[in-house]
């Protein structure tokens, strides 16, 4: 991809790879892509505090927590893979483990979605949680679930792309692609960081009652 002249770049003390820099800019873009969703979340939390807590209690905290642990572990595998790639050692096993953990995350997420659909928590016209005791509460809960689905779906999409990258690298074999592993790793960790924030925002509200 890069035609950047590596030696000329090193001379001026620029980042070692133009591609790494480009990927970081892409991650900056990705962060801002989530921006409106986070601002919308702030709106819902400040304007419908009780409804947000009530809606959050409908999410599956156990599965969410397990998923967070899975994702954190996948990030460890990815970091190890990147470290090994830098040392010119094989990375297949670690990349496969990363991808598998990612897939496990997606499967669990799918199970959660299934439960939520069954409980009519998808925020379309059929949205009808049992505890929406007023129109105001209904609206707040609906907006919370709009953001829940938008955020987790966008995150899952990113994770799926990451899994494809990981599996692709595994298939291509282990050694001469430290840069590719590095870039995939950065992307993977970013997706992890986004989840680290989504987890408390979506799953942990109002768990202590009230």
């Amino acid at each position: 991809m890069s035609t950047a002249n590596a030696s000329a770049i090193a001379e001026r003390g620029e980042p070692e790879h133009a591609a790494t820099f480009a990927l970081w800019i892409l991650l900056a873009t990705e962060l801002l892509l989530f921006g409106p969703l986070f601002l919308g979340y702030v709106y819902v939390r400040t304007h419908f505090p009780d409804a947000a807590a009530a809606a959050s209690r409908h999410t599956d905290m156990l599965l969410g927590t397990v998923n967070t642990a899975i994702l954190l572990t996948s990030s460890l595998c990815m970091a190890v893979a990147a470290e090994r790639a830098r040392a010119q050692r094989s990375t297949q096993w670690w990349l496969s483990a990363t991808a598998l953990l990612g897939l496990a995350f997606l499967v669990i997420k799918g199970i959660e979605y299934q439960h939520e659909f069954a409980e009519h928590l998808f925020p379309d016209r059929g949205f009808a949680p049992a505890d929406a005791i007023s129109l105001d509460r209904l609206h707040g809960m609906q907006l919370f679930f709009l953001l829940y689905f938008a955020m987790t779906a966008l995150h899952a999409l990113h994770l799926a792309v990451g899994c494809v990258f990981c599996l692709g690298l595994t298939v291509r074999g282990g050694r001469q692609h430290a840069l590719a592993v590095e870039l995939t790793g950065l992307y993977w960790h970013f997706v992890d960081v986004v989840w680290i924030f989504l987890y408390p925002l979506l799953y942990l509200l109002g768990r202590a009652g009230g």
Binding site: A132, I133, S134, L135, L138
Partner: protein, 319 residues
């Protein structure tokens, strides 16, 4: 071409005079800057045209002092304009206890106003010269914007929320009312007349309004039209609660909760009947969401409210 043509809009409110003063000041300030720049550019272009005999030794490639001057000087000027404009802006929103409230509802594509005494008008707004006014506005559909050029006043009108703005008309006359926020196909025709009258004349006008049927009466008609009375009346075979005097009462619900019935409760019960089922009744009421407009809901709520102390308006509801 057109005899109505004029260069400046009429100035018919206290804020209009202040606006024009500020606009003139800003115009002089920016005009001077523009003039100086254009004179300089023209002069340089003529004097230093290629082949002219003007001296060109040591053209400066930059000058820190000059740069700092032309950063700081405009900045100070800007702060002054900002302060003045911000003060005037705030005064459009500062609560004025003497102001008469006028309620304005915008909908695609008309303006409907209601004066405190109940006098209503559509597409027109009558106000008294010298009497401060507070517009309290909301929209039934999309965002509109209340714009009276002669008053130099504009405020967006939002659905689901009241916005307000204060002004004092100062000159008798008839002025334009425009919608300034694009609101759909007939946006350009969503205009009206602002009629500023002498106070005494305005007082007379206020008293002679056409009589509009009361809200509660209309609500009663709707109560029957939507079939509410079919169940919520004494002679009904369906077991449904009596609604007379409901507003303000404590209500015991099926799930053990207890709440005070207010307008929101009535509204929610019509739209989401299964949320708050009253103890002792089956959840058989269908939802009316999407069938009853917001205005009709208000009328029905008004009727239920009225029914508490006016037996005559609810003749069919005696058990």
């Amino acid at each position: 071409m057109n005899s109505d043509f004029h260069w400046l809009p009429a100035s018919a409110s206290s804020s209009a005079a202040r606006f024009d003063a500020l606009a003139l000041t800003t115009l002089i300030m920016t005009g001077l800057v523009a003039l100086i720049l254009f004179v300089l550019v023209t002069w340089f272009c003529i004097r230093y045209r290629a082949g002219s005999s003007a001296g060109r030794q040591h053209p400066p490639s930059g000058n820190r002092t000059v740069e700092v001057i032309w950063i700081v000087a405009p900045l100070l000027l800007f702060f002054a304009v900002f302060g003045w404009a911000a003060y005037d802006y705030a005064s459009l929103y500062r609560p004025n206890p003497d102001a008469t409230p006028i309620y304005l509802v915008a909908k695609q594509w008309m303006w409907k106003a209601e004066h405190p005494n109940g006098r209503r008008e559509v597409g027109e707004l009558h106000v008294a010269a010298g009497q401060p006014v507070r517009m309290v506005m909301t929209s039934q559909d999309v965002i509109h914007s209340f714009f009276v050029p002669a008053f130099r006043v504009k405020q967006d009108v939002l659905p689901g929320r009241y916005t307000s703005i204060y002004f004092t008309p100062s000159k008798v006359g008839v002025y334009h009312l425009f919608c300034a926020e694009f609101c759909g196909t007939e946006h350009a025709t969503m205009s009206g007349r602002i009629v500023v009258m002498p106070p005494a004349e305005f007082g007379r006008w206020l008293q002679q309004g056409p009589s509009v049927p009361g809200m509660a009466a209309r609500g009663f008609a709707l109560f029957r039209r939507f079939g509410c009375s079919g169940c919520h009346s004494a002679g009904s075979t369906v077991h449904a609660p009596d609604l007379r005097g409901l507003i303000g009462r404590r209500v015991h619900l099926q799930d053990g909760r207890e709440l005070t019935a207010d307008a929101t409760y009535v509204r929610d019960s019509i739209l989401l009947p299964h949320k708050d089922v009253v103890a002792g009744y089956a959840p058989i009421m269908p939802s009316f969401a999407g069938q009853i407009g917001e205005e009709d809901l208000l009328a029905i709520i008004e009727y239920i409210k009225e029914s508490a102390h006016d037996e005559r308006s609810t003749p069919r509801h005696t058990r």
